[in-house]
């Protein structure tokens, strides 16, 4: 097995560990789109501070990676800014309408064998595959 796949497996395991800790200690789903939505809600709920701190921790993750390994994780942004702008809008709206994203439906929902999450993951994977295929074709 290639080293990068091992990193992916261990990194995935840590993501699963974070969601397990959140569930066992706090009793909640570590779904990022839901947590962002909750921090934007007005009037602020009682979990506002903890949600913001979770997001701040998420932001700190790559910083700690850099301190541990001496460099940022590799990132390639290949598309134009317009693509990222439109995609961001669709991701924000779609994840809220569909009650979750890759973390809430993917990591937590699949682990709970939630019917809704299985349907959501199958849908966004299929649509994602079609979108990439269409963009490759169009150029």
């Amino acid at each position: 097995m290639q080293l990068t796949y091992l990193h992916s497996l261990i990194g995935g395991g840590l993501i699963g560990l974070a969601s397990a800790l959140y569930l066992l200690l706090d009793g909640r789903i570590a779904g990022v789109s839901g947590i962002i939505g909750a921090t934007l809600r007005r009037p602020a709920g009682e979990n506002q501070l903890r949600n913001l701190i979770f997001l701040f921790g998420l932001f700190l993750g790559p910083v700690i990676y850099r301190l541990s390994f001496g460099g940022w994780p590799v990132i390639h942004f290949e598309a134009s800014l317009w693509i990222f702008a439109l995609a961001g809008l669709l991701v924000g709206f779609g994840t809220r309408l569909g009650s979750g994203c890759t973390s809430g439906h993917g990591v937590c929902g699949l682990a709970r064998l939630s019917r809704r999450s299985i349907v959501a993951v199958a849908t966004f994977l299929a649509v994602g595959i079609i979108t990439v295929a269409v963009m490759n074709r169009v150029g």
Binding site: L14, L17, L23, A79, L86, G88, L90, T95, G98
Partner: protein
């Protein structure tokens, strides 16, 4: 009081572990996520390893949680109860799928990659917040308007019939 601090610490620890895991897994890189979706082209299986690792550990957490009456720091679990497959679920997941396929970014990596200070992640995150706000603030009023119009049409139809 100790619980309050403990829960804040849990939120921070879970966020940091999540963000570090994303960084290690390679999933902050939109090109590798899109590579996974590019099954007919330059396929990159990394995301399958990430999901396998994440779902297996998360499943262990779920199994342990079912033995507990309540989480360690709260009096009850706060889990989604909804079971039905409805239009918003499928339509929302499809809309998300288009944005995810276009960019290779989803909400977790979008927030974590802000740490690198690159312009595309800030553009994406700002528009993602806009999308969330549009959904959360406008959708209820759009739905209410649709319902009111539909109700009015039924009333009108009754009056005419």
């Amino acid at each position: 009081m100790i619980d309050v601090f403990a829960r804040i610490f849990v939120a921070l620890a879970a966020g940091v572990i999540f963000g570090f895991g994303l960084s290690l897994s390679g999933m902050l890189d939109p090109a590798r996520v899109r590579g996974f979706l590019d099954i007919a082209g330059h396929f990159d299986p990394s995301l399958a390893f990430v999901l396998a690792g994440a779902v297996s550990i998360s499943s262990a957490g779920t199994l342990i949680s079912r033995k507990l009456r309540h989480p360690l720091l709260d009096s009850m679990f706060h889990l989604p109860l909804k079971q039905d497959i409805d239009l918003p679920l499928v339509a929302g997941a499809a809309i998300f799928g288009v944005g995810w396929g276009m960019s290779g970014l989803c909400p977790g990596p979008a927030i974590a990659s802000l740490a690198l200070g690159l312009v595309p992640s800030y553009v994406f995150a700002a528009m993602m917040l806009a999308g969330i706000l549009i959904h959360d603030n406008w959708l209820p009023s759009i739905r209410a308007l649709c319902r009111r119009l539909a109700a009015k049409r039924i009333l009108d139809a009754d009056a005419n019939g």
